[in-house]
């Protein structure tokens, strides 16, 4: 296909000192215009060149493309013009409509720009009377979307007179179905079709949307349409990808697969949509009429109405802990109803049992895959099993023979455990599916967010949506996901009330309160309370309570619990216990716990972990991974300063668990105060946060000016108190809030513009704490330029870098924070270069507070550093070690690994406080000790390192030696820095 002479010509135009020239000169107004026009001939020639290439491709491959491909009736009267994958859906629809005798046509745009008006017009049958142009984009404020505008212009320029309407569809990959295509063709039948329409939504605000019949379907009868509901990370998607390969390669069938993920990182639900059939599959939309539905997790049955997508007579395969004789009464009524009414064939297998017996642990993917092949009959059984095994070898072969053999054993054991259920003819279950949110939820949560949770977001009308992306916070509390199989249960006798569990909990699901005895009057029977172990609160009660329906079961709290039974050390003050039997009683306890008053912050010391457990977190129940290493730091920030925090959030994991619909984890306290949160782009989050700082400071400056100007009217004493307020401590901030309340009251009685003006900015007189939050991909890499700039400005912002040493959210790509020797994407052979020392770079300014922390190694140190950073009146940078699933080990040991990172010398803890210079002290304080364990004892607990050791031990050894040198050199440097005397000490010496 490729003309070698063109390749050579291209190379000869490349930059080279062997034939030097300049490209990219700055052009002034005198010539720039002409230069732009100079390239016109190439744009004019491009369509012909592309068509020639398409013709050549047809000769080679046998498939003919045109700049505009027409499909439909030769005498079509109604035409759709569109491009991209949606055109295949339209193609499928046109096929069905042609078969029904309708005169419709479709023009697929293959070359959008340079746009060939001649080719467009030539491709349209003369018979066409009306045209709909579909764009998958929205150009706010434009008179039409790009393709529509081009078509209109082309028709005008070519003197073509046709009725043309334009419409939008499928934004952000929204579903686009044959029913919608049919709706557009139906609209073209009208005398006055709607222009600037939308299709696929219900626009009840500006009424742009077209009506269509969602039941219209073009699914071919011979196609297998299978839906698989799995848990993220259970291997369901991987097995389905293998099934597609098997069917595509081993049979005459065409195959298609699409995988849908929800927005949670823990307990995420994956839905695999698979189609197989004898004809090419153009259906680039999700399956809504499945003839096979598989549920890989029994607990999904009460959360997802998956059988609504099963067509009558379909097959339902369920991974069930109950056998065929006992499963029926364990199904929610809705599930039973649908099985009966749709006459589904119903199979169960105890996949978890088979997995356990065959050494697969909790992995059921190949077991369920084998059952699918056995039931669906896509391939003869023996052939299918051989093909599955071949796929296993290909997929897992590199992970070792043991792994392959284990999978083989699981496949072999599967079929004998597969059972068909004799379906009773009556609904008999005593329970039903759980509502997506409790009835007590606020209206917006009930009416809008609950629909998204239930998977019905597509049905929400335009009027349900906020117009500017503003959503209420504190909504995660309503999304009771019940994903933990086991939850921690408190042994109140053993507990020493240290608060470590509360500190490390990534989801804020374990909390403590100290309160007056009198509140216990209405406590549920199983609610636990013991005397508080606080010197000043001895006469009060203490409760440690778990939110059973929000816990993810990560066990970090249990691992960190220091209180062990004297008679059986495995029993701690927290112990994991199966959740289902405790769900109802503990949920009632949790509700009661929430109704207890918060402990008065004035009685607590926010530098003590023990006291911090009593500070209410304003970040709760996020969808972060179970055992996440990042969220405990964010939670801590909200406990300490949550009522005055403004968060600028970089894109990444933090923005997904922090702000992905349906629900939001940031919440507010009893006064209605809580973090404000907004997500910027990856590359400019530091600037975004700086902007917030500047805006708040400007408002503050203006408000101070107004207070000064209105001093006489509001009273000089109050004005002076406001203007001279010391807000360094929380007490100072509370006092200022009281003054502002007084100010507002006084201003309410003054009817002047200045007074009204001051009311609108009065809140800015209370200190705001700006936090710029993101991961290492942002801070070390893509946002680094901006971060560096913001740190140099001297403005009071706090930067929290949640350092997982890899791009976690996008699947483990190496960042400049990735350490030497660790395997990551783009560093598959182990990262050859060392980790960038972001802290050292920031310290070089001398004016930035810098700290490196690791909660698992020093919780008090973490608290101290975060508190100092916030108090520092200038830029602060905190780099927080964050364990991550991308490191490849059981997150239950995350805090232990943090300790190992510090104990090996790899992650020294330190603080650099420029304020100490003024006190004549060394600003750099090294807070951890020299290595007490080997680097090996830390890094070789993690798959990111061991996968290289196992696959390429010699190279791993080379990198390990260099990594050891990195650690030792860095330690020497920090040790040296920490031993530099401060100015005052030098003076004493003199």
């Amino acid at each position: 296909m490729i003309d070698e002479n063109l390749v050579f010509a291209h190379r000869s135009r490349a930059l080279s000192p062997d034939r030097p020239f300049i490209r990219g000169t700055a052009q002034n107004p005198d010539v720039y215009f002409q230069a732009r026009e100079a390239c016109n001939p190439y744009y004019l020639a491009a369509p012909t060149i592309v068509q020639n290439a398409m013709d050549k491709f047809a000769q080679v491959a046998g498939r003919q493309y045109h700049l505009f491909d027409y499909f439909g009736a030769p005498d079509a009267e109604r035409l759709i013009i569109m491009m991209g994958s949606g055109a295949e859906v339209a193609h499928e629809t046109v096929e069905a409509m042609l078969a029904a005798g309708e005169k419709v046509g479709l023009l697929k745009v293959r070359l959008f720009r340079p746009f060939s008006v001649e080719a467009l017009v030539a491709a349209i049958p003369e018979s066409v009377k009306s045209v709909a142009v579909l764009d998958r984009t929205k150009e706010s404020g434009a008179i039409g979307e790009p393709l529509y505008c081009d078509v209109i212009t082309a028709f005008a320029e070519m003197g073509v007179s046709r009725k043309v309407i334009g419409g939008r569809y499928g934004l952000s990959s929204k579903e686009f179905t044959p029913a919608m295509v049919k709706g557009v063709y139906d609209e073209l039948n009208k005398v006055h079709p709607k222009n600037h329409f939308t299709i696929g939504i219900n626009d009840d605000v500006t009424h742009t949307s077209l009506d269509y019949d969602p039941e219209f379907s073009t699914e071919a009868p011979g196609t297998v349409r299978a839906l698989f509901y799995g848990l993220g990370a259970d291997g369901t998607v991987g097995a389905n990808k293998n099934s597609i390969k098997i069917i595509g390669e081993e049979t005459e069938n065409f195959a298609q697969g699409y995988f849908v993920y929800d927005s949670k990182k823990s307990g995420a639900i994956t839905t695999s949509h698979l189609r197989f059939g004898p004809k090419p599959i153009r259906s680039s939309y999700l399956i809504t009429k499945a003839n096979f539905v598989a549920c890989h997790q029994f607990s999904f049955l009460e959360r997802i109405d998956m059988l609504k997508l099963a067509e009558p007579g379909a097959t339902f395969l369920l991974n069930s802990p109950f056998d065929a004789d006992h499963v029926w009464d364990q199904l929610p009524r809705m599930v039973q109803q649908q099985i009966i009414s749709k006459k589904l064939r119903f199979y169960v297998i105890n996949g978890d049992d088979v997995a356990k017996v065959t050494g697969m642990g909790g992995r059921i993917n190949t077991i369920m895959q084998t059952c699918f092949f056995a039931i669906s009959g896509v391939l003869p059984r023996e052939e299918a099993i051989a093909a599955i095994k071949y796929a296993i070898q290909k997929t897992y072969g590199k992970r070792g023979d043991t792994v392959v053999q284990k999978n083989y054993a699981a496949v072999d054991a599967s079929l004998s455990h597969l059972q068909e259920v004799k379906v009773p003819d009556k609904v008999s279950s005593l329970f039903d599916m759980r509502p997506p949110v409790p009835a007590a939820a606020p209206a917006f949560v009930r009416d809008v967010l609950a629909q998204i949770i239930a998977g019905n977001g597509d049905d929400l009308p335009v009027s349900a949506m906020p117009i500017d992306g503003t959503f209420p916070s504190a909504t995660a509390q309503w999304e009771k996901r019940n994903i933990a199989l086991e939850i921690p249960v408190w042994d109140e006798v053993l507990c020493i009330q240290c608060g470590k569990c509360v500190l490390v909990c990534p989801h804020s699901v374990i909390r403590a309160k100290v309160y007056d005895d009198s509140y216990l009057g209405n406590a549920p029977a199983t609610f636990k309370a013991v005397p508080a172990r606080w010197k000043d609160m001895k006469d009060r009660k203490y409760t440690l309570q778990v939110a059973p329906e929000d816990c993810t079961g990560c066990t970090l709290c249990v691992e960190v619990c220091p209180a062990k039974s004297k008679s059986e050390v495995k029993h701690r003050a927290l112990n994991m216990v199966p959740q289902p039997p405790l769900r109802e009683s503990e949920a009632a306890n949790w509700d009661f716990f929430l109704s207890l008053p918060e402990t008065d912050r004035k009685l607590l010391s926010p530098t003590q972990v023990k006291d911090i457990q009593l500070l209410r977190p304003l970040f709760e129940f996020s969808g972060a991974c179970s055992g996440c290493g990042e969220t405990p730091y964010i939670k801590l920030v909200t406990q300490l300063f949550g009522d005055r925090v403004m968060i600028a959030n970089a894109t990444g994991c933090t923005s997904i668990y922090g702000g992905n619909l349906p629900t939001t984890p940031y919440c507010s306290n009893e006064e209605g105060r809580g973090p404000s949160w907004s997500n910027s782009l990856f590359e400019d989050n530091a600037e975004f946060g700086l902007g917030q700082r500047l805006a708040v400071d400007k408002q503050n400056e203006y408000a101070r000016e107004l207070v000064w100007r209105l001093g006489f009217q509001i009273g000089e004493e109050l004005a002076q108190a406001i203007l001279n307020a010391d807000q360094k401590s929380e007490q100072g901030i509370f006092a200022q809030r009281a003054r502002i309340a007084e100010l507002r009251a006084k201003l309410a009685g003054i009817d002047t513009l200045e007074a009204r003006d001051l009311i609108s900015v009065a809140d800015s007189l209370v200190k705001k704490s700006i936090w710029i939050v993101g991961g290492d991909g942002w801070a070390y890499d893509i946002g680094y330029g901006g971060l560096d700039h913001v740190l140099s400005t001297g403005r009071n912002v706090n930067v929290l870098v949640l350092d997982t040493e890899v791009y976690s959210n996008t699947g483990g790509q190496a960042s400049k924070s990735t350490p030497r020797g660790a395997v990551a994407k783009f560093a598959a052979a182990g990262k050859p270069a060392g980790k960038k020392d972001l802290a050292l770079m920031a310290m070089s300014y001398g004016s930035v507070y810098v700290a490196k922390i690791a909660m698992g190694a020093g919780d008090m140190h973490t608290v101290k550093a975060i508190t100092e950073a916030e108090a520092y009146d200038g830029p602060s940078l905190i780099i927080a070690y964050s364990h991550c699933i991308a490191h490849g080990y059981d997150m239950a040991h995350g805090m232990d690994q943090q300790k190992a990172a510090v104990n090996s010398g790899y992650w020294p803890l330190f603080r650099y406080n420029p304020d100490l210079v003024a006190q004549g002290k060394n600003p750099f304080q090294l807070d951890s000790r020299p290595a007490s364990i080997g680097l090996k004892d830390y890094i070789y607990n993690e798959t990111r390192y061991t996968m290289l050791v196992k696959s390429n031990p010699e190279h791993a050894q080379e990198l390990f030696k260099l990594a050891e040198e990195d650690v030792s050199a860095k330690w020497k440097l920090y040790d040296y820095m920490s031993h530099q005397a401060g100015a005052a000490v030098e003076e004493v010496k003199k």
């Binding site: 990370a233 994956t270 897992y396 992970r399 070792g400 996008t810 483990g812 490849g888 798959t943 996968m947």
Partner: protein, 338 residues
């Protein structure tokens, strides 16, 4: 001055291998480095037992790799995996086998491979591969701790016997068995292993004995290097077994001086194996022991190692009761009288 190396014959045979002296480096992590293998030869080791290949470790490593690669997959649409594909297949025994070949190229002295399996297939398969890689002999490190109260001593012993049979059927190189001391009838067990075809018995394995951290209330790994006191148990059983079986006896555990070596030989061992002494005092300490051994033999007018081997075994001493219960009672009473 007399050159003792010319007048005293330190040579011995072990597993049919002719060794220049009875000083063998026993299986330890030290043997992972080819450089150390060379240093051991230079310091006078007559043979080296490599560190053990643990079948279970290979399986666990592979399974964990698989588990964590899978469990971090399909977390979200943006993160369908968290690790890149492995560039190469993970190593099973390949690295170990390569190490055998490298050691063989690096030194002249015999290299004995050490294997700890968990499945019969694993024991036999890896044993064959070790032979193919060039190992001169094989030491089966049966590091098995029977914690299941439903498994009888008889069943445990039969496992050992079956294992020797299976491995001996598949390899032609000599095979020794490294044992722990916890058998109801050690002498009988030795005889049965001998009957099953073992070419040598290595007495005794030092089992890992976890310790308690009383502050954290945790069971913690504990590795205490051996000392000469541990020699006595080995001397006792080698002295008892010597002469009753065909297989060679090797003493391992507690050899820290030339006199420890002498005692080992006198009890009936063909070789004395060392690790802790070398870890404590460096590989070159082996050379010191060899010299001191010569000096001791010179001073005590021994001509050869062979001469002393078994000279103080149970059958060779005038009071065999010293190895029996009567002697135990005497020790106790003498202690009480102090």
């Amino acid at each position: 001055m007399i050159d003792l190396t010319k007048t005293i014959d330190l040579s011995t045979t072990y597993l049919g291998l002719k060794l220049k002296n009875p000083l063998v480096a026993s299986s330890s992590p030290m043997c992972r480095e080819v450089g150390n293998i060379r240093r051991l030869e230079d310091a006078g080791a007559s043979a080296i037992v490599l560190h053990s290949l643990f079948e279970e470790q290979i399986d666990i490593d592979n399974e964990e790799l698989d588990r964590f690669m899978t469990e971090s997959s399909d977390v979200s649409a943006e993160s369908t995996s968290n690790f890149p594909d492995l560039l190469f297949k993970v190593m099973g025994p390949e690295a170990y086998l390569k190490h055998i070949a490298k050691c063989k190229q690096a030194v002249q002295i015999p290299i004995i491979a050490s294997l700890n399996g968990t499945t019969t297939g694993g024991w036999v398969g890896y044993a064959k591969e070790m032979q193919q890689a060039g190992a001169d002999a094989l030491e089966l490190n049966i590091y098995h701790i029977p914690v299941d109260p439903n498994v009888s001593g008889e069943q445990v012993e039969q496992k050992y016997i079956d294992l020797i049979h299976a491995v001996k059927n598949e390899v032609t190189i000599p095979v020794s068995v490294k044992l722990g001391p916890y058998f109801s009838s050690m002498a009988n067990m030795a005889k049965r292993l001998d009957g099953a075809g073992a070419d040598g018995l290595v007495l005794f394995n030092r089992f890992y004995q976890p310790d308690y951290d009383l502050e954290a209330l945790e069971v913690v790994p504990n590795l205490i290097l051996s000392n000469s006191h541990e020699l006595l148990l080995r001397l006792h059983w080698i002295a008892v077994i010597y002469g009753n079986i065909q297989a060679d006896l090797a003493l391992t555990g507690g050899v820290h001086s030339a006199t420890d070596v002498v005692k080992s030989m006198m009890a009936g061992a063909k070789v004395a194996m060392m690790t802790s002494a070398l870890l404590k005092r460096g590989i070159t300490f082996l050379d010191t022991i060899a010299t001191e051994l010569l000096v001791w033999m010179g001073e005590h007018e021994y001509d050869s190692i062979k001469q002393m081997q078994g000279s103080m075994s149970r059958n060779a001493v005038p009071q065999p009761g010293a190895f029996e219960r009567a002697n135990y009672m005497k020790v106790l009473s003498s202690y009480a009288m102090r």
